[in-house]
Amino acid sequence: MATLPERRRPGLAFGLTLDCGYDLLGVAGGAPTTRNVRLDLGEEAAPRAYAQRLASAGGLSADRDDEGYVFSAPELGVHRVSPAGDSVVSAPPAGAEADRWQQLVTGQALPLAAVLQGLEPIHASAVVGDGAALAFTAPSRGGKSVICAAMVGQGARFLTDDVLALEAHGAGGLLAHPGPALATLDGARTAVQRHEDPVPLGAVYVLEGGPTDTVVVERMPRGDPRALLGATFNALVTDPARLERHLEVAARMSACPLYRVLLPARAPLERKTADAVASAVMRI
């Protein structure tokens, strides 16, 4: 009997053109780029050693072996990224919901693939306003996602949640690439409409909890190089070319308008506070 041709699904995320052998949530659309990644399902992603580790592991593991990089976590499966970042093979747990196990694909494997293909992901969420990316950086659960949702509510367009892929562009600028059209809101991954094209990085907003009852947005005279370097989303790849690129991107970020956003130190961030931040940012 003839074999039906495999149905491939095109997609875009983090500056990567995706060729998916399964339905990867949130990546459909976007114009092709010069960086390609093939995504497939396959048990070869999960050699026995990793499968055994999953049985006893408590959280996310990231490893490097002769065949590339492996991310694994209980209930989220095993995901292998090729050394060149042009292939991701996933072995999700049987019966796992797609929006659960795919978090490791879009949240770890693809950002690593972006690094391996010459991009620099940072830990930030971003929206597009006046044709430029406005990036919000903060530790996990620091309010990035809810502030970006508030920005969208006030007219900005969603660009990415949690991971922002940057690329040196022109003499001293940075290009910000769209991420998956998914945002984590109220603890749930939610489909959103995203801006589909890369845009220049316009400004960076550093979110901090502080001794304040009101939102304060203030221009920072300079960016702390160590903080900018520390905003990287990936510390696995440390070859000289990547280190130099990382330094270059941090230097270019320091030349962008940088703002400190002081937030009332209440977790989780209240929607009214996020709206106040959005209003202040939109006025700048």
């Binding site: 005279p221 300079r222 960016g223 190089p225 900018l228 370097l229 440390t238 000289p240 280190l243 130099e244 330094l247 270059e248 941090a250 230097a251 320091s254 030349a255």
Partner: protein, 107 residues
């Protein structure tokens, strides 16, 4: 043969940044990265400017110090000891190579 004056050796040396060292300027600070070790080193504004002058001037450490003194409107003698020690420290960390006057191997 009289022992060489270490300070004089450095003052008359030219500075070369080796290929395994890259650096970028941030406002108020310059970060150097040793690509071989993965270690970062920070220079303040004066140190960063001194590095630029030594690298771009194609002159000696002595001429770079003279230019910096002119920029800061101070006498050379006020800054020469500190900047000589600075250059010696950069070389000791493998971040620059000091090429003796007349060319040849790095100091």
């Amino acid at each position: 043969m009289a022992a060489a004056d270490p300070s004089g050796d450095i003052l008359d040396a030219r500075v070369r940044v080796p290929s395994h060292v890259v650096y970028r300027s941030f406002e108020g600070e310059t970060l150097l990265l040793n690509l071989d070790s993965g270690q970062y080193h920070g220079l303040n504004e004066t140190g960063g400017r001194m590095l630029e002058l030594m690298k771009d001037d194609d002159g000696t450490v002595r001429t770079a110090i003279a230019r910096l003194a002119a920029e800061y409107e101070v006498d050379v003698t006020e800054i020469e000891p500190d900047l000589t020690a600075f250059c010696r420290d950069l070389a000791a960390r493998g971040l620059v190579e000091l090429v003796p006057a007349g060319g040849g191997d790095a100091a």
